[in-house]
Amino acid sequence: MSGGVLTDPEPVARSLPAGLHTWWRMLVICLEERLAYRSDFAIGTLMRFLPIVTQVFLWTAVFAASNRSDIAGYSRDNIVAYYLLTMITRAFSSMPGLAGGIARSIRDGSVKKYLIQPVDYVSFLLASRVAHKVVYYIVAIVPFAIVFFVCRGYFPAPPDGLTVLAYLLSLVLSFLLGFFLEATLGMIGFWFLEVSSIIFAYMLLQYLLSGHMFPIDMLEGIPTGLSGVSLADVVHWLPFQYTAYFPASVWLGKIQGWDLVLGLAVEVVWLVVMVLVCRLAWWRGTCRYSGFGG
């Protein structure tokens, strides 16, 4: 982008080690691309809060009609704060276009170049996704700040420093977990040429089981058929909750003490599992992949 938003990146790039140089270049390219449509991007971010407006009114109506001050451990203000906090988590863990992009590169053959170049495809994707997210946060911070300022009355007092640290850690882990979940999903493209329906089905499951649709605690009363095990118990052991529910609940103080430590430990385990599965899928997939033509 000539005469663009950023200054010449070359002096910075030259001073970096070779590996970081590549990352820096990818970051700059992504910054330029995204900032070219920054107003469109900012308006789009603000609009993503509109469905939450509906949720606020819906839950207000539910609380009013039920004459309850508490539903599944949430007050009305808690529910609103929860939905807003899941927006932050989703800003870290959602990976729009990642799985579809990988599957497309396999289908149209463009993945070939990563097989012959000294660039690891998964690392390349991770680097460009970091750049994508950094740009997103730079632009989205204004609409996020406006919404959170307007809705500050719904939030309880901020948690202590250690909880804030745990919250930040859970956000970073949610980004990595979200990335490897979707990257693995995209690699199904090595086995099936058309994966759009599979991706859509995954998104549905993810929306339901991550706590994005409603807090997972609301599933406490739903039996699974196993004695003493509710649906919420099952969902709590799946990786999806870390992409929406878990960080939001940490901030709201719903998960504390050893439960918080255990939750973070399970999140790390899921991350390691997904990194390994993603690597395995890439290895097995490239073994069976055939590329023709130039």
């Binding site: 789009g44 609009m47 509109l50 509906t54 819906l58 009013a64 929306y207």
Partner: protein, 272 residues
């Protein structure tokens, strides 16, 4: 008119042939669509495990609310099948200059842009909507009168017309602005307001929002009025809303047509 109906039937037949060529994909699309709907129904059932109705004294207890959901499914299935697949391609057509090919054809551009694709898989949700309605209505405390049954299909058509007007207005804005992905996303976010009964929009913020979404962007009339006609007693106020909905449908179609023609007059090709 007959010519356009024949052409539309040809488009629909071609889309059906294509869908049936990839039957497995068609089936998967139906299933994922049903999956999304089932998730929403499960969410509503969960809500009703906490409350007897949505909104205090609103009349939207479980069965009337499911009739509301069914009405929304039917209206959205028609819109998604008839108009959305075509309209969703417009932003890219404007950006790449593909719109030129539409404009040189000896047919009405609005017709071609909004109805050249027919998504049969979207009808699956509509069928479920009819089944859900058939389940809910016999369970109403008071059965709907005959006049409500007569008004219901008319108001469904009005709901579809209002949504169609919104799609065309956004399409016109796309043509005028060249690139407005966010504005087009606006469709999904604004229609989100119509997913729940209007009574939930109450209080110092909700009241003005309800007025805005009823009389300025009449999105709250789309499902609320037909569903309310069948699920609630037809009071004087209800008759007023029926009239407002008919007027809003005519206004939406007229305004969107005018706006679309204005946008086309200002269109400058993006190609060569």
């Amino acid at each position: 008119m007959l010519r356009y109906l024949t052409i539309f039937a040809t488009f629909a037949r071609a889309c059906l042939v294509r869908d049936m060529t990839f039957r497995a994909n068609f089936l998967l699309e139906c299933l994922t669509s049903l999956g999304w709907m089932s998730m929403n129904l499960a969410f509503y059932l969960l809500i009703f495990s906490f409350t007897p109705e949505i909104g205090r004294d609103s009349g939207w207890s479980r069965e009337p609310f499911f009739a509301f959901v069914a009405t929304g499914l039917i209206i959205n299935a028609v819109v998604q099948a008839l108009f959305m697949p075509s309209a969703s391609e417009l932003a890219e057509m404007v950006r790449t200059g593909g719109l030129d090919a539409i404009l040189v054809k000896p047919l009405d551009a609005q017709f071609l842009l909004s109805m050249h694709r027919f998504d049969f898989s979207s009808l699956a949700n509509g069928i479920v909507g009819v089944v859900l309605l058939a389940w809910a209505v016999p369970r109403f405390p008071v059965p709907p009168p005959l006049v409500a049954w007569l008004l219901y299909p008319l108001l469904i058509v009005c709901g579809v017309a209002i949504l169609y007007g919104l799609i065309i207005t956004l399409a016109a804005a796309t043509i005028m602005m060249g690139r407005n992905q966010s504005l087009y996303d606006f469709w999904f976010y604004i229609t989100n307001f119509s997913r729940y009964p209007a009574e939930i929009y109450a209080g110092p913020w909700g009241g003005p929002l309800r007025m805005l979404c009823t009389f300025v962007i009449p999105i709250l009339l789309v499902v609320n009025v037909p569903a309310g006609t069948i699920a609630k007693p037809l009071s004087g106020e209800a008759w007023g809303m029926v009239l407002v909905t008919v007027v809003a449908a005519v206004a939406a179609i007229s305004f969107s047509r005018l706006f679309f023609q204005t946008a086309l007059a200002r269109y400058r090709s993006a190609s060569s």
